[in-house]
Amino acid sequence: MEYFIQQLINGVTLGSIYGLIAIGYTMVYGIIGMINFAHGDVFMIGAFISLIMFLVLGLIGITWIPFAILLVLIVTMILTSVYGWTVERLAYRPLRKSFRLAPLISAIGMSIFLQNYVQLLQGARVKPIQPIVEGGITLIQSDTFVVTISYLQIIIVLATFLLMSIFAYIISSTSLGRSQRACEQDQLMASLLGINVDRTISLTFVMGAALAAVASVLFVLYYGVIDFYIGFHAGIKAFTAAVLGGIGSLPGAMLGGLLIGLIETFWSAYFSIEYKDVAAFSILVLVLIFRPTGLLGKPEIEKV
């Protein structure tokens, strides 16, 4: 039982990170109907930016940890958003009126480009960082097993919850969110009402990248090692999460992220660590067989 609770805590933590990345996939899909395959690599760029920032802050002697984390978060969000924006501007916008597959191919190209770009600049070796947030709370102490939740896990889950709430509010109740939903449903009509559709799409990429940036900072803090390939791994998991939850649905992305995190963690804990990816993808296949639109996906847009 204790073991189970410990795995639950670990799974929710991992799932939060996946969920944050998954939102970027789902929002972009919602608004332009395209899978942004470079999104995982934008997350990877964020991880490198935050790692470098942590090292720099350490060097110049900013050691008060809450301040350091906040600073890294802000800088990483800004710089990563610039990458997200640029990817859209260079690789997708020029192809908007082209055939459907073109931006998809361009996205895969962008993903490969970003990986190679980081590999060239930073080298292919794994980059480690000292643990920054240490310690935790012991929840249950029995003779055989200790259940702990680390401060970092608390930070990750709280940060995710907070961001998701802010995000849900933006989408449901602000004029930016309404413009995004309008563009999702009918871009031509949105422009007839005075919405700058290109700008709204750009902002969607920026928001997705900013959330991926937060995920990347949390990832760096949690795992302490990164390389140029983490974007591919995390990206494919987050993408799976988005599809599992129902691509285009925000709560779906979060739910999917949590589920993938939990499946992976429990599978590794009870069966074998090697096949954790197989487990995650098998569940995806099963869900899609019975619910092709994902768990929370809308069945079909009604005809008017």
Binding site: R178, E184, L192, N196
Partner: protein, 246 residues
């Protein structure tokens, strides 16, 4: 051009406009003028280019040749989302309400391009014209009836405080009683709110009765024009558009 202190009598001037969809020439040199305070109707058979003309005024698609000026400013090459801020709103063919949003959110979308300070006042006016929208304000717009959706489309367009309102077949598929109600509101908007209206209609009889002037569009060209009641008297119009009564 010299500075004109008063707005010129012509509000919208379309001159020599050609519009293409790929290789298809949908508009073949159109000249239309709409004056301040008028209701101008555009009638024509299916595929004549009526929708294309209204959409070209809004810059999507853009005219390949010719000029469109609104209140003296050339808007031919202006991006669509800026044209509405100049005072032109459209209730397009097929209504195009946002089905996944509530009625109220659709209304909010209409007010996107203008100062929020006017919102309450404009919303009060729109719900005075269409009381049903207030009753249904929290309902998903996709679940409205056809007539209600049409009212929402017009109401949404009014929320941007247009000086020129473009209406594309507002009576399509509606019961006669609702059609009558919609036409009454169009007249009311024109007289009380001083909104100039350009109205595309299949329902030529109603449209020509209501309009000050009308244009007949045939195959991408203007075939006839004149005061509404005059066009109604013309035998060729009666034969082509009013056959089989009203």
């Amino acid at each position: 051009m010299s500075n004109m202190p008063n707005p010129p009598a012509t509000m919208l001037s379309i001159s020599g406009v050609h519009t293409y969809y790929g290789n298809i020439e949908a508009l073949k040199g159109i000249d239309v003028e709409v004056n301040h305070g008028e209701i101008v109707t555009l009638i024509g058979a299916n595929g004549a280019g009526k929708t294309t003309l209204l959409m070209t005024v809004c810059g999507t698609p853009q005219a390949a040749r010719g000029h469109i000026t609104f209140e003296g400013k050339d808007i031919t090459r202006m991006p669509t989302h800026e044209i509405v801020t100049k005072g032109i709103a459209q209730s397009p063919e097929g209504r195009r309400i946002f089905p996944g949003m509530t009625v109220f959110e659709n209304i909010q979308m209409g007010a996107m391009s203008c100062d929020p300070e006017y919102f309450d006042q404009d919303y009060a006016r729109v719900t005075e014209l269409f009381p049903i929208l207030k009753e249904r304000q929290n309902q998903r717009a996709g679940t409205l009836s056809g007539g209600e959706q049409q009212m929402l489309a017009i109401g949404r367009a009014m929320m941007s405080r247009p000086r020129l309102l473009l209406l594309d077949e507002p009576s399509l598929g509606l019961a006669p009683l609702i059609v009558k109600q919609i036409f009454e509101v169009i007249a009311e908007i024109n007289q009380t709110d001083h909104v100039t209206v350009m109205l595309v209609e299949q329902n030529a009889y109603h449209a020509l009765k209501l309009a000050h002037r009308g244009y007949v569009l045939v195959n991408g060209k203007i075939a006839m024009s004149g005061p509404g009641n005059e066009l109604l008297e013309r035998p060729e119009i009666r034969a082509a558009y009013l056959e089989g009564g009203r």
